[in-house]
Symmetry: C2
Subunit: 437 residues, 2 copies
């Protein structure tokens, strides 16, 4: 073995010379994949270099993926060429382009003032001093104050900013909440559909049940009881609050889409009805602003707030600090309230228009279910095809559908109007009708 040194090396560079020598051999496949490298002792003798130098070279080769060390055996040449598949950019999974999307959980393109939000973000990004440090684990104090004011005014949730925890989405908050619910073992969800929520409880060892009021924790979304927008009547809200207090069940109130209740009033928050005891209130801004803004909050009742404070510094804040600063000013300037009013009007009109389109295409007697809130309706259709066949046909025709349930000879779909433009309702319904017949 002959080592051609490229230049008169300083001591520090010696090992890099050895490194390059072997690297070239490997790349040129003169040392093939799987070949055993000479032992340190042997190599050091042959090259008349110290074992330390050889070892440094081998370690750098291993660090760079050319060789790999096997325990009690030595170094082997890796199949670095075989790694070509990870070196090349991964292929994009072919993405289906949908002409009409009835399954989208996105928001209406016209509903959001990007220019306005950009202005607030830009202003937040100019606050260099604040951005140079980690944020408060609980969330920025001024945003928590703005949220406390907002939920007091709009949801009758009376709380101090110290009881509010901000996080990047509901899951991030549940990851902080579950560990302080020690001693509680069972949790009830209204349906199996909110898998992102039930998964967190499962991961923490809770037994997850459905519609079981005898559970230690009762998770409900009073403004979104079903996918077609049924809401919890006030009498049941009161019953639930009393039940929770009597049985020491903790209620988690996920107030999702409470802003989009069109038909029924009043819809008080459980937190307010319970006087702030025994209820955790969860709110999110994704439906009001942009789904891509990951920002939610929870309001803790006094007992849990104390437990949380003891552990607060164990959790890092997950939400973007720049977005928190921007949102705080956005709320203070009244834009959140204005945006909420605008969306409520918009979705109410869109839902009516969708119902009209469905009735026109499928006939007045088409079994449509609607609730008092939300952005979707349920439509039951007679078909012998079954969901899988229908869905394949729909995808092939650029129509995205969402199944609610399948029964012999009929299927029920959830049609969401939130992101589809109104002008598409009729053609999308006609296409669906064609595929069914």
């Amino acid at each position: 073995m002959e080592l051609q040194l490229r230049k008169e090396p300083g001591k520090e560079n010696l090992y890099m010379e050895v490194y390059h020598y072997y690297k070239d051999l490997i790349i040129e496949k003169k040392l093939p994949a799987g070949a055993r490298m000479p032992s340190l002792r042997k190599c050091s003798e042959e090259l008349k270099l110290s074992r330390t130098t050889i070892e440094s070279a081998y370690l750098q080769l291993a660090a760079d993926g050319y060789i790999i060390s096997k325990a009690q055996s030595g170094y082997y040449v890796t199949d670095i060429a075989g790694h070509a598949h990870v070196l090349a950019p991964a292929e994009k999974k072919s993405e289906i382009h949908f002409r009409y999307d009835f399954a989208s959980s996105g928001v209406d393109r016209e509903s959001f003032r990007f220019d306005l939000w950009q202005r607030y973000i830009k202003s937040a990004l100019r606050q260099n001093d604040r951005l140079l440090s980690y944020g408060e684990p609980q969330g920025e104090k001024d945003l928590r104050q703005a949220i406390a004011d907002y939920v007091r005014e709009h949801r009758n949730v009376l709380c101090s900013p110290d009881d509010i925890v901000i996080g990047a989405g509901i899951q991030s908050l549940l990851h902080i909440l579950c560990p302080i619910l020690k001693g509680r073992k069972t949790v009830s969800f209204p349906t199996p559909s909110f898998i992102q929520g039930s998964t967190v409880f499962e991961d923490y060892g809770f037994e997850v049940r459905y519609r079981n009021k005898d559970s230690d924790v009762i998770y409900v979304s009073p403004a979104h009881m079903t996918k077609w927008g049924e809401i919890m009547p006030v009498s049941r809200r009161l019953e639930l609050v009393h039940h929770g207090a009597k049985n020491n069940s903790l209620i988690i109130e996920d107030d999702f889409e409470n802003e989009f209740v069109y038909l029924q009033k009043p819809t008080p928050s459980l937190f307010g009805l319970a006087g702030g005891q025994g209820v955790v209130y969860l709110g999110t801004f994704s439906r009001l602003l942009l789904p891509s803004i990951r920002m939610s909050f929870m309001v803790l009742p006094p007992d849990l707030s104390i437990l949380y404070q003891k552990r607060a510094d164990r959790y890092n804040q997950t939400a973007s600090k720049a977005e928190q600063i921007a949102l705080c000013q956005f709320i203070r300037d009244g834009h959140l309230a204005a945006q909420t009013r605008k969306l409520k009007r918009l979705y109410s009109l869109k839902l009516k228009a969708l119902k009209k389109a469905v009735n026109e295409v499928f006939g007045e007697n088409s079994p449509v279910q609607t609730g008092a809130a939300g952005t979707s309706l349920a439509l039951t259709l007679q078909t012998e095809d079954g969901w899988n066949k229908l869905n394949r046909k729909a995808q092939a025709n650029g129509l995205r559908l969402q199944l609610l349930r399948e029964e012999p000879g009929k299927i029920t779909l959830i049609l969401s109007c939130s992101s589809m433009p109104v002008d598409d309702f009729a053609p999308a319904c006609r296409l669906l009708k064609e595929l069914i017949s």
Copy 2:
């Protein structure tokens, strides 16, 4: 009881009239806090209105916090005036202003090009279409591709973008990782100091130990073994990888501050040394960009990647989509690599300057510990005062300190240079010396 209706009401407004009648009585304290409201039956008889109307009014009063329902007992007036403390903005906790901060984990003010980052964010915020929908649960595909390219080049981590999961900070990633480590019961951390990490494992029922290699999961930060920047030598890295493979211990490699290794080379990643098997690689951008940008990633080995894929859609993405889009382009344009080089040079110089200042102020023989990496050194000082007294004195003088350990007659401090300007090193050290003597 006499109800003066304010106007001739339509049927829908009747309950609101009852509502306002009682609301005014409560606000004027004619119905004092704690008073029981007339029963629905009695009230309905007296007012000659249907029970439904009265009930609606009561429910709205309850919704707005004026009365509260108690189970099997009726409605009671709340102490809404007593809620004044939550209605008023909460007092700000008095924040101490520090002249000199040796404990900051922030970044150097001069190190970050805010203008550049603002440009990337602005460009991301113009991608309206992408921002209108929820992001990919795993993180944006193009960012995962950019990260795969980056860690392959810089850390010899060979992986496909499909093995990468993005999250808002290391904790968010551990919240996804822990549940797929079923069957593993024990985890070892190098020290108790990374409480944000150990907390997550504890919350999931793991037994947390320290420096115990016989654990099912071994969590290490090879480039940040101690707070004063000691790194794991390559020989120990190899040993650890072999130990993990032999004992089926999963290694979690938190590659924190690997970018700031100044003195020792090579420092291969464990993931690379192990050929991508049995190691989870964790990386974060908070130290390179801004702490306020919550963006981290993990690279899963093949077996865990498969388990994750099965559950991927159970977890929502936590990182801001706009920031993901911005970061992706920032990396592609080479700014991350440039920023890393710049910071490494900067912190290396700052650490030298800090050491010089410490030597000048405390004398050449002052016991200073430094490592091969990082942004801090450890300084041991003789003092009879003890930590609590010294810390109080320091705070009173605008000096923020961080304790490493306290022994009889001496304390060891961690002095971080990361966010303090170089010109402050000498005066800060002189102030510290004054407080000690």
